[in-house]
């Protein structure tokens, strides 16, 4: 096991003993109980060996328990004592002693009675096993330093290793490096030339500094800054626009969260606010921020199956995804380890894990209409469009007409107001399905008279009744495939109908109904979604003779709305307004749903079938995790309190983790090289003091991420040349100490975006729905790439639909994450598939053509000028004489297009200078 090769452990077990109080007891511990333990338990759970981290040779250890996180002994409560469970073989998989006979019944009885009587162990009644934290990341930051700038901290270490900073990089490298690191885009040739002039070596230092600082300010202010840094954040939380799992369905409008992240980085939103909003944006006026909580994959109900144990397991898995997201991204700790037992390395117990899950117990994977401020453009637009709609509906009504409105995911049937006690809907079709139905009052708030609390009685045609899908499903608020169904079997002359009896007379004027509104709310790009599975129907009311009489028919409404000219025009206008409302008004988006939190229990060994003690919302106990809230607090308050704990200046992790992340994305490796694991299993910081100093600066700057980036890229360390030298390579080959700027391959996005920018075809639009490269698919089918290169795709790759575990057939090969697991840093691998994709894909061939066209149109007929332009556009430099000659040769004998394809494939293009 992993623990075996750890050099040290973060906890030191300390037994605190104090004065004695001797308790009277009928059971003689020394003579009766201890020998049983000695014979059966202590060989593996004693002073010499502690299997599963458990010791039973001192009372304090017994109370604490082992790795399972469950107390072995709870005095006076044998039913809560894990020791009693395991010696009784309650769970065959955890039966003690192992591979041996059960302890004799009378001995078990004796131990049970001993615990019942208070587990009296003479001389040890005040023992407590405490754990001391001595791992740096969980201790408070250092606040006194000998140095006061990044370079000085680095220089000290470098001097210790006998190396020093390299010279400043040349201007061209510097602008290319800064542009890519800050915005993910190479600079234009024009901006490069401008900078080279301003940064020329013959200028004085002040001028050069000003030129560089101007460049950095320009890049920080660029809207592309937010795109670049959003990409990093989305990797960390494995955000994607599909669920993963079998059907891997698209998550409707999930991109709204992506745009929130881009905006936050661009606005330089303080990091503490960024955290608060992502955890509790629903109550902070940033509904789109909560997409964070459901960034991970999940298995939708339809593919979980019907076994209750599987359903409980799936919910526990979803909660685990939420905790992993919070833990890895904001805390820099691998929370998931404590799901089944106490964390092996870090001060997180199984109780902590489930207390954290209590803090997020109201989170569920799904869509909602995000909360928007009153002056949000979507809200304003919606008010305007609703008012148009009201006018047009009024006109319909004034003519006494009835009509059907198509709202994509559902229909609304409007008819002249009926004041009634009963109503019937008789379907034309023989096989019908509805998930929800609302009958709306004519006046006021258009209350739904089928709301369960109003007590309407719904029955259906007994001859078409389907027992497993009863009428009670029609108003249970659950959308999806498990609604009501009516089936008229062969030979049955009747079709399905529904009958409604209202406890009080109601005046109603419309019906809203759907077959599967879940699809409309939750997903997209699915074949056959939003199709009605109930067809046309008649609405009937009782006449004076007590007979059902149809007064409206949807088939007739549809016919009249096409046949009668005036009506057709009006119907068309209504549909147009509805169409606009669906797109421009508030929209449902996959940004999490919030449910009533249920009670949370510790699940022994991670199994939902083994609930133990109830826990309340808290952060890890040994990290000062008391949230100071009422145990019955509503979900949002719990999440807010958790966010408060995270961003408290005393929290040793949050700010350090983010400061390190920013460093990591700039230099390619963090001061802590494992950016999402600050625990004992992660790597220690190379420059612990520098990290704490940076963290202090970060908090003092009001958690400004741009200030942090600015400070780092203005350092000499960042501006150094990346050229190797013998001394550096010999002492510190990977430049961990930063004697040079470490070279590295750029990410998939940088390659694609920079090609588009070079060809002049990059559409710089920020945000909005992702560009599509995949098909519209069947529910249970794989996504397939349809077009990954056409002009609709000429946007930054951040906006390419991010499908979990789907290969885009070009850039996925460049270590683009599959979004299944947290990805704090992307591996960089080199494969022949990358070469094939970059040499032969339609995208590259197409862009090479556009590049050549651009070079020709900008430089005219002279081949050498064209070739030079290609170098400028792709590499931001002039070719050397031999490069020029060889390139002209290729351009002449083959084509300029081929030269562009070749340049796109060069190492120079793919590596950060």
């Amino acid at each position: 096991m992993i623990r075996q090769w750890l050099i040290f452990q973060f906890v030191a077990m300390v037994l605190v003993t104090s004065s004695e109080i001797t308790l009277a007891s009928e059971i003689d511990f020394e003579n009766d109980v201890y020998p049983i333990l000695e014979d059966n338990c202590l060989f593996c759970h004693g002073e010499d060996e502690q299997e599963s981290g458990l010791r039973l040779d001192r009372r304090g250890y017994m109370l604490r328990g082992g790795d399972s996180g469950l107390a072995a002994v709870v005095p006076e409560h044998p039913e809560k004592s894990y020791l009693i469970d395991v010696i009784n073989h309650v769970d065959e998989e955890m039966a003690m002693p192992p591979d041996e006979d059960k302890i004799a019944d009378e001995d078990i009885d004796l131990i049970t009675r001993w615990i019942q009587a208070g587990a009296v162990w003479p001389g040890q009644m005040d023992d407590i096993a405490e754990e001391e934290i001595d791992h740096w990341a969980f201790l408070p930051r250092q606040t006194e330093f000998d140095q006061d700038c990044i370079d000085d901290f680095l220089r000290e270490k470098l001097a210790g290793a006998g190396v020093s900073f390299s010279d400043t990089a040349d201007a061209r490298s510097l602008i290319r490096r800064a542009s890519i690191v800050l915005t993910g885009l190479a600079p234009t040739p024009e901006r490069t030339t401008q900078f080279i002039e301003a940064f020329a070596e013959d200028r004085d230092a002040e001028e050069r500094n000003a030129a560089y600082e101007n460049l950095i300010e320009e890049l920080l202010a660029s809207p592309h800054f937010g795109e670049r840094w959003a990409q990093h954040w989305l990797d960390v939380i494995r955000w994607a626009e599909t669920n993963g799992s079998e059907s891997n369905l698209y998550r409707k409008n999930a991109w709204m969260y992506r745009d929130y992240v881009v905006r936050s980085f661009n606005e330089d939103k303080p990091y503490d606010e960024f955290i608060r909003e992502q955890l509790a944006g629903d109550v902070l006026g940033h509904g789109d921020a909560t997409g964070f909580l459901v960034a991970g994959p999940h298995v939708p109900a339809a593919t979980v199956g019907q076994e209750p144990t599987a359903i409980r397991q799936a919910r526990a898995d979803r909660m685990d995804e939420v905790l992993q997201t919070v833990g890895a991204s904001m805390m820099g700790v691998t929370i998931g380890c404590a799901r089944c037992h106490n964390h092996k390395f870090d001060p997180i117990s199984i109780q902590d894990y489930y207390s954290m899950s209590a803090a997020f117990q109201d989170v569920e994977f799904g869509s909602r209409f995000p909360e928007l401020a009153d002056d949000h453009p979507r809200v304003l637009r919606s008010t305007q469009l609703r008012s148009h709609l009201d006018d047009q509906r009024q006109e319909m009504r004034s003519n006494g007409w009835a009509w059907v409105e198509d709202w994509t995911g559902y229909e609304e049937v409007h008819f002249p107001t009926q004041t009634i006690d009963e109503m019937r809907i008789v379907f034309n079709g023989r096989w019908v399905m509805l998930d929800e139905m609302e009958i709306l009052e004519a006046d006021g708030e258009h209350r739904n008279v089928l709301a369960p609390e109003l007590g309407a009685v719904i029955t259906d045609n007994p001859s078409t009744h389907v027992a497993s899908q009863p009428t009670s499903n029609l108003n249970n608020g659950v959308f999806g495939t498990k609604g009501w169904r009516g089936v008229s079997k062969k030979g049955n002359k009747e079709t399905p109908w529904l009958q409604f009896e209202f406890p009080k007379t109601v005046s109603v004027s419309s019906i809203r109904l759907s077959s599967n509104r879940e699809d409309f709310l939750e997903t997209d790009y699915l074949e056959g979604m939003n199709k009605s599975k109930y067809g046309d129907f008649n609405i009937e009311i009782l006449d004076d003779d007590g007979q059902w009489r149809p007064f409206a028919s949807t088939a007739a409404m549809r016919k009249k709305s096409t046949d009668i000219e005036q009506r057709q025009a009006l119907q068309q206008k209504i549909q147009e307004v509805i169409g606009a409302l669906i797109v421009e008004g508030p929209q449902p988006a996959f940004l999490a749903q919030f449910v009533e939190p249920v009670e949370t229990f510790v699940l022994a060994r991670g199994s939902p079938e083994s609930p133990r003690d109830r826990v309340h919302a808290a952060a890890p106990n040994r990290l000062g995790g008391d949230l100071g809230i009422d145990p019955e607090s509503p979900g949002a308050l719990r999440r807010q309190a958790f966010a408060d704990w995270l961003v408290s200046p005393e929290n040793p992790l949050t700010a350090r983790v983010m400061a390190n992340r920013i460093w990591h994305h700039i230099f390619g490796s963090g001061i802590v090289p494992t950016p999402s694991d600050f625990g004992l299993a992660g790597a220690p910081p190379t420059h612990p003091e520098l990290l704490d100093w940076l963290t202090g600066q970060f908090i003092e700057s009001n958690w400004s991420m741009k200030s942090m980036v600015r400070m780092i890229v203005l350092s000499d360390a960042f501006k150094q040349s990346n050229a190797p030298n013998e001394a550096g390579l010999a002492k510190d080959a990977t430049a961990q100490l930063l004697w040079r700027f470490p070279p590295r391959r750029v990410e998939a996005e940088v390659i694609r975006d920079s090609v588009l920018q070079a060809s002049g075809r990059l559409d710089p639009t920020i945000g909005g729905p992702s560009y599509r490269i995949h098909n519209v698919k069947k529910r249970y089918a794989q996504w397939e790439v349809v077009d990954n290169h056409g002009d609709e795709t000429w946007r930054r790759m951040l906006y390419q639909e991010r499908m979990r575990r789907v290969d885009d057939r070009i850039f996925t090969a460049f270590d683009f994450p599959d979004c299944g697991q947290i990805r704090a840093k992307r591996p960089v691998s080199t494969t022949p598939l990358q070469a094939l994709n970059l040499m032969n894909s339609d995208f590259v061939v197409n862009q090479a053509t556009l590049l050549a066209e651009r070079a020709r149109s900008e430089r005219g007929d002279a081949i050498d000028a064209q070739v030079i332009r290609c170098f400028e556009l792709l590499l931001c430099r002039q070719p050397s004489q031999d490069e020029l000659e060889a390139s002209i040769e290729v351009a002449k004998t083959q084509s300029l297009e081929l030269l562009c394809r070749t340049l796109i494939n060069t190492n120079e293009f793919a590596f950060l200078p």
Binding site: V299, Q306, S676, Q782, T830, T849
Partner: protein
């Protein structure tokens, strides 16, 4: 260690995550960055150098194929106590006897049903495992579990782990090839052969006998002369660039990757050229008889053998796809009309698979090739309520091994008298995967990769090698 190896090993050193030398910690593969596919030594010597995984998505019914349960005939149509009310798809029905007759086969007399007559004829070469259990009743999670060791998304596949550990014996072909079913990808899609958090270099490259890898061919826009000129200029520009960074392994590796890509452009079409195989080979695999799907799958089987012959380390061959991937049936998931749907699927799988294994044997390749036939779980001994099919059974199913390092004509473990639950020598998927790695000369506890706070393994923190199946 070559110059190229510096980069990755230093990267690991930088993370302070180098292998311990104590004999119990991780064993890091000695990866040459200039060629991450270069062959590497196993942890210990075993006969198997290559592995062929035949994966049957959808869940093959063990009680209708290899796990003979006479009691099912006695209890046919009854519902004895102990059968749950609800399983994965809903309410349960009565016990159903096997839909095909069982007969003793080979010298070992192993009872196998008539559903798979060709494979049945080879039982003396197989090592059956009858007491497998999994953690889930759902296909995608089951596929993930079987192929990546976790039910969740995002973990490296078995093939990726093996490739990461061992590299490859050929420098002309990908180290790990996934041959998808002619109908398309299985339900977990790319997870089944993905690299998860391992570097992308170790993912399976997917192609079939009829579909080459993406972007393999020269674009129509360029002539072969042009293509050569482009490669030659690229080499020249890269060589000049490299002069500024002497000895840089990452740059050198990228140059080398273009050379390997160039070789693949010739060698992949060569290996895919199965039309040149002799007529008797086509006949034995069945590429010209039966349904179109069977013919296509038979071609894939020939491709599998050709890839193994060339030294590809891992070949993963799929017999079934996602439910929406084809006409009629798409995999072994027979919730209804099992008699018809399992027979349709068996027609595709049986002859070509048997011919493939026989071919490997006849060529002496089984001496160094491990063959694994597997599926994600079993099917229930009873029908679904009022139904004609069997629901998912996570508590007992059968897989078999053959070839290098495994016993022949042997059966390990037993399910209970109904085939409902594993009864003797219960074997988890962790144990199964631990055993497969062991057969490849790899210690499943020491083949690890640091990711997000943990030394990750194919077998998580579980798994025991099933020693009884080792030859």
């Amino acid at each position: 260690m070559s110059l190229g190896a510096i980069a990755l090993s230093q990267l690991l050193a930088k993370d302070n995550l180098l292998a311990s030398t104590s004999g119990v910690g991780p064993i890091r593969p000695d990866i040459d960055d200039e060629n991450p596919y270069a062959a590497r030594n196993p942890h210990f010597e075993m006969p198997a150098k290559q592995v062929l995984v035949i994966y049957c998505p959808g869940a093959v019914s063990h009680v209708d194929t290899f796990d003979y349960k006479p009691d099912l005939y006695k209890l046919d149509g009854q519902k004895p106590p102990g059968i749950p009310q609800v399983t994965f798809e809903g309410p349960t029905g009565n016990i159903a006897k096997p839909f095909w007759d069982f007969k003793p086969r080979g010298e070992s007399g192993k009872m196998v049903s008539d559903l798979l007559p060709n494979l049945a004829g080879m039982v003396d070469d197989f090592c059956f495992m009858h007491s497998l259990t999994t953690q889930t009743s759902a296909h995608p999670q089951g596929e993930n579990f079987m192929n990546t060791g976790f039910t969740m998304e995002g973990f490296p596949s078995f093939g990726a782990w093996v490739t990461y550990a061992l590299g490859c014996e050929t420098d002309e072909l990908p180290a790990f090839v996934a041959i998808n079913d002619p109908r398309g990808l299985a339900r977990s899609g790319k997870n089944n052969f993905g690299s998860g958090f391992l570097p992308a270099a170790f993912q399976g490259t997917d192609f079939t006998a009829s579909n080459p890898p993406a972007n393999l061919g020269r674009p129509n826009a360029y002539t072969s002369d042009a293509d050569r000129a482009s490669v030659s200029l690229l080499q020249r520009l890269n060589a000049k660039h490299l002069q500024q960074f002497p000895g840089d392994a990452d740059l050198a590796a990228r140059i080398a990757s273009y050379e390997l890509a160039g070789r693949m452009q010739t060698s992949v079409p060569d290996v895919m050229d199965i039309a040149n195989e002799p007529a008797h080979v086509h006949k034995s695999y069945g590429t010209e008889s039966g349904t179109e799907l069977k013919k296509a799958y038979a071609n894939n089987c020939i491709l599998a053998r050709r890839l193994l012959e060339k030294g590809v380390r891992v070949v993963q061959l799929f017999n079934g796809s996602d439910p929406a991937g084809g006409n009629g049936i798409t995999n072994w998931d027979s919730h209804s009309e099992i008699e018809k749907t399992h027979a349709m699927q068996a027609e595709i799988m049986d002859q070509p698979t048997a011919a493939l294994i026989a071919d490997l044997k006849q060529r002496g390749m089984l001496e160094h090739t491990l063959v694994v036939w597997c599926t994600e779980f079993g099917r229930m001994p009873f029908l679904q309520a009022n139904g004609t099919g069997r629901d998912h059974n996570p508590d007992a199913f059968t897989c078999f091994l053959a070839g290098a390092g495994v016993k022949k004509g042997f059966s390990y473990g037993e399910s209970d008298e109904f085939g409902f639950k594993a009864a003797v020598n219960e074997t988890s998927v962790y144990d199964f995967n631990a055993t497969l790695l062991h057969l490849m000369g790899l210690n499943h506890e020491r083949l690890t990769y640091y990711h997000n706070g943990l030394e990750r393994r194919l077998t998580n923190v579980h798994g025991h090698v099933v020693k009884d199946v080792l030859a």
